[in-house]
Symmetry: none
Subunit: 378 residues, 2 copies
């Protein structure tokens, strides 16, 4: 299912006119719909003072062209009604107040292969920019653990904990998503240009402000609510008393998400925030990725009773098939002869086994030979 083109284009226009989470625009949107609201604003109706505020941005507004240009650069604008729309951000509707500008986003600009509707199994890993080596190590380890078990990591793109979380997820070969306060084509901080490009290539980079937008203080705060809303739970790794990570935790609490905090030395200022969260019962203490999964796992799927091994598809294979499968390279195809050599098995036995393995999609036959299929990579 897809939202109508007119609705999408109107939301692009509104996304450029207003500031994210403006409760007046949210209210008007609900009342009038995006198409009528955008038309009214371009026709200079001063709805609750919104027109006056956005007048300067109206000049030359051409959302249709904006959308085309974005799409030509591999940026999509996901709106409610799209298959990709992440339903969980709907929890933001009504969660905002005039003071903290917290309504649901008009739409989300996205770069990257990870789809937003696949973020149900995700955990936000957030924390201080001025983190310690200890905090960064924990963030990396936890991120690696959770992606290995199929979760997606969500964070900002700041120095410190954000960066460590992404790097931990990337190193473990998992999916990770950065939510920016600037446009998805405008890396901030600039020093993270390559990191953000990597996430755009392999994960996703998400923003609620249009491409080209600058990050501002307000946008950082309002961005935090999206990180909390998109994920099933928020983990605060390190945070001094005024850290923005605490605002993400507060949003997560407000949205009834699981809030978790990593303890650390009581002598570390960067662990004061997590300790405060635990002391005030706002967060649960966790010390590992396994504990994060235990708290977030769907109906006991991640309970840590004992490290009982997940049954994988390959557990059903017969020993000889498993041995052949182990000899098939991940991406680069290999010939039957080469696989037989690697497996230390006879050619006929290997051919037979490959036939069974191909039937069940453990391997795929290409012109140049065999490589792992979807089941084999799982």
């Amino acid at each position: 299912m897809t939202a109508s083109d007119a609705d999408r284009v109107a939301r692009v226009g509104l996304s450029r006119l207003g500031e994210p989470g403006d409760p007046r625009i949210s209210a008007l949107l609900e009342e009038m719909g995006a198409v009528r609201l955008f038309a009214a604003l371009t026709e200079e109706c001063d709805l609750e003072g919104v027109h006056t505020d956005v007048a300067a941005r109206l000049a030359g507004a051409d959302p249709g062209r904006d959308l085309e240009r974005a799409e030509s650069r591999g940026i999509r604008f996901v709106v409610p009604g799209d298959d990709e729309w992440p339903p969980q951000v709907g929890d933001l509707a009504g969660a905002g107040t005039v003071h903290d500008r917290g309504g649901a986003p008009l739409g989300l600009w996205v770069r990257g292969p990870v789809r937003l509707d696949q973020l149900q199994d995700s955990v936000a890993i957030v924390g201080s920019r001025s983190s310690t080596a200890y905090g960064e190590g924990v963030a990396r380890a936890v991120a690696g653990d959770v992606v290995t078990r199929g979760m997606t990591v969500i964070s900002g793109a700041a120095f410190g904990i954000d960066q460590a979380a992404h790097r931990g997820a990337v190193a473990a070969g998992g999916a990770t998503v950065a939510v920016l306060a600037s446009g998805v084509d405008r890396p901030y901080p600039v020093a993270h240009t390559r990191l953000i490009q990597h996430l755009a290539d392999h994960g996703a980079v998400v923003s609620e402000v249009p491409p080209g937008s600058a990050p501002t203080r307000v946008r950082f705060l309002i961005r935090n609510r999206l990180i909390a809303a998109l994920s099933r739970g928020t983990l605060v790794v390190e945070a001094a008393s005024r850290s923005g990570a605490l605002s993400t935790a507060r949003w997560a609490e407000r949205l009834n998400r699981t809030v978790m905090a990593v303890p650390g030395p009581v002598t570390s200022i960067q662990s004061a925030g997590p300790h405060d969260l635990v002391r005030s019962a706002a967060a649960q203490l966790v010390t590992s990725g396994a504990e994060v999964l235990e708290l977030l796992g769907a109906s006991g799927s991640h309970l840590i009773v004992e490290p009982c091994r997940q049954t994988r598809a390959r557990d059903v294979l017969r020993p000889r098939e498993a041995r052949v499968l182990d000899a098939v390279p991940v991406s680069r195809p290999a010939t039957t002869e080469s696989i037989a050599r690697t497996a230390g098995l006879g050619l006929v036995a290997v051919q037979t086994a490959l036939g069974f393995l191909a039937r069940d999609q453990f391997v795929e036959r290409l012109e140049e030979g065999w490589r792992l299929g979807p089941q084999g990579r799982a």
Copy 2:
């Protein structure tokens, strides 16, 4: 008020015959009283098998002489009915089971000026023998903090956290009490002879086994219940998974005392115990002596005044002013029109806001436009 001499002497005798916390002796004591029970055992009545167990110890038993000799060496035997008897250990009656031998003590052997009836305002600080420098530092600091505010520290006399807690209390000039698994005249570990002597001179050394008794494994475990029972709350500073400190915490929980735990690096085995206690909601996380006092303090007397956050200049701004301020570049000046575009606000509103902001030095007007002023850069 004082217990009768006959009762005290009989309890001395029972204290030498049985092992501490023997539930059979507790039950018989309640039924028969100390004098009749001791007489029956010396007359070889085999009450519920107790006589068989204690027969070897009966030979030459002379509790009257034991008591005299102890008193001549500055050791007193405090029993229920004495003014000095600490009423809170009465909570142990019935708390024990046959399995964990947890009844109330027959009496308590004491050396030192601190009176046991003055331990209502006390906190047990316990933890691992193989502690880290971090844990010892926290134990010292917390002990120093709480004694400065009039609390007494209670602990064992082991290496590691016990020692650090006593040293912290002593260094701060406060009262501290060691509960031993051996006789109060038999320092264990021997390396702590001077520490224990210091406590006997300035605090108190307490035991439920008679002078001269050796420490045994069972006596250590049964001793832990006394540490928990004597104090208003138990703080576990560091503890690996099987640490005896966790048994003290379990006793404290069972006795409805406050159980507290100090967080530490998740990478430290010695912090695993405290983290487990917090995760299972058996303990509350604390990071300082002030927080211990807040949890234990009598009716709010130690409430922590929130370290009221530093108000920064920009916190006083109204939302619209803050938004305009965010749109003002740091160094390069911008025109009012450009600021209005960036802020997404009307020109008049922006002009008004800039006026207020300039008055308070958040922005400065240059010929080419506006830039941040001293307050805005702060």
